[in-house]
């Protein structure tokens, strides 16, 4: 649930990057943190293991300027993707306003992507939310590997596996090079803000 402060005219919006382990969620936030440094007031918080896997979440607050006289503060989170951390994923999803699903386009990840999306669906049901209603953007990450000759899933397969029912905006991307990372972010912010405006009016 977004939080709207009518006194200081601030809107806080929570966007969560979700997806299978090692898919590139943290790498998305790290790119955003470097690229948009000027709009970010504080340090990125990363709760991770020694092996750099996300243990609880990454957190990055992001200032989007004003809409209709309100300061828009976007709070970006990632979940830990490893299978065993579903209890933590549910905690991070509490109060979520918008979700980026980061799929890993490597061929052997096909089943993991589908499993993770199904679990997202379940987790949202547990929070009395619905994957069909919440603003959602698909990101097909690591597309840069295609150029290196590493087998990646064609986008029509990914669309079929993950997006044939949801029909949400989707992007091929590379969190490593930054390709379509800002586009993904802009899309989820605009979908989320629109959905909040609809709820308010």
């Amino acid at each position: 649930m977004s939080f709207i402060n009518l006194k200081d005219k601030v809107i806080q919006v929570k966007i969560v990057y979700y997806g299978p382990g090692r898919g590139g969620k943290t790498t998305n936030l790290e790119y955003i943190n470097r690229r948009f440094r000027k709009q970010i007031q504080s340090e990125m918080v990363s709760l991770k293991t020694h092996g750099d896997r996300t243990l609880f979440f990454d957190f990055l607050p992001f200032d989007m300027g004003q809409i209709k006289g309100f300061d828009l503060k976007i709070q970006l989170y990632t979940v830990p993707g490893q299978i065993k951390y579903n209890a933590t994923r549910k905690l991070v999803l509490r109060g979520v306003d918008g979700i980026v699903f980061v799929a890993d386009t490597q061929q052997q990840m096909r089943g993991k992507n589908i499993g993770s999306l199904n679990q997202l669906h379940q987790n949202l049901v547990g929070l009395k939310e619905s994957i069909f209603r919440i603003p959602l953007v698909m990101q097909y990450n690591k597309i840069d590997l295609r150029k290196q000759g590493i087998p990646v899933l064609p986008t029509n397969i990914l669309e079929h596996d993950l997006n044939s029912k949801l029909k949400v905006p989707s992007f091929e991307a590379s969190a490593l090079t930054g390709y379509n990372v800002p586009e993904t972010l802009k899309k989820i912010i605009s979908s989320t803000v629109m959905s909040i405006q609809r709820k308010l009016s």
């Binding site: 977004s2 979440f57 109060g95 709820k199």
Partner: protein, 130 residues
């Protein structure tokens, strides 16, 4: 009840209560957040400046974790959540199912006295929504 939007009047009253009951007795900083990690309001004594947005995200995560652990061992909740440091202590308290009140305070205040004032603060804040 809808916490999604809090009116200017409610916020001003809440700030008044926090200042009166907690900042005036020497609490360094008090923050009210929701379970999603959003900041509802924050007050400090002008001396201590914290990065409250990161703080709120971590505090919500911390509280949710301890709460989930309580459920696992069959407790409704652990009623006292308190972190003790050399110069700074942090006290968590549930306002209701959606809101948390977090106080940061130094060694001048005893935990007992703080808890008493926090309890009064929470009662006053609940009345705002009643």
């Amino acid at each position: 009840m809808n916490y999604g939007v809090v009116s200017q009047e409610q916020l001003e009253k809440m700030d008044e209560i926090l200042t009166e009951k907690l900042i005036k007795i020497g609490v360094d900083c008090v923050v009210i957040i929701d379970m999603a990690g959003n900041i509802i309001t924050a007050k400090d004594n002008d001396k201590n400046k914290y990065d409250i947005y990161s703080f709120a995200a971590l505090a919500a995560g911390n509280f949710a974790t301890v709460d989930a652990m309580a459920k696992l061992v069959g407790e409704q909740e652990f009623s006292l959540l308190f972190h003790k440091g050399t110069d700074c202590n942090i006290h968590f308290s549930k306002v209701d199912d959606e809101l948390l009140l977090i106080s940061m305070f130094g060694k001048e205040i005893s935990l007992g006295y703080l808890r008493l004032n926090v309890a009064e603060t929470i009662e006053a804040i609940r009345k705002l929504w009643a």
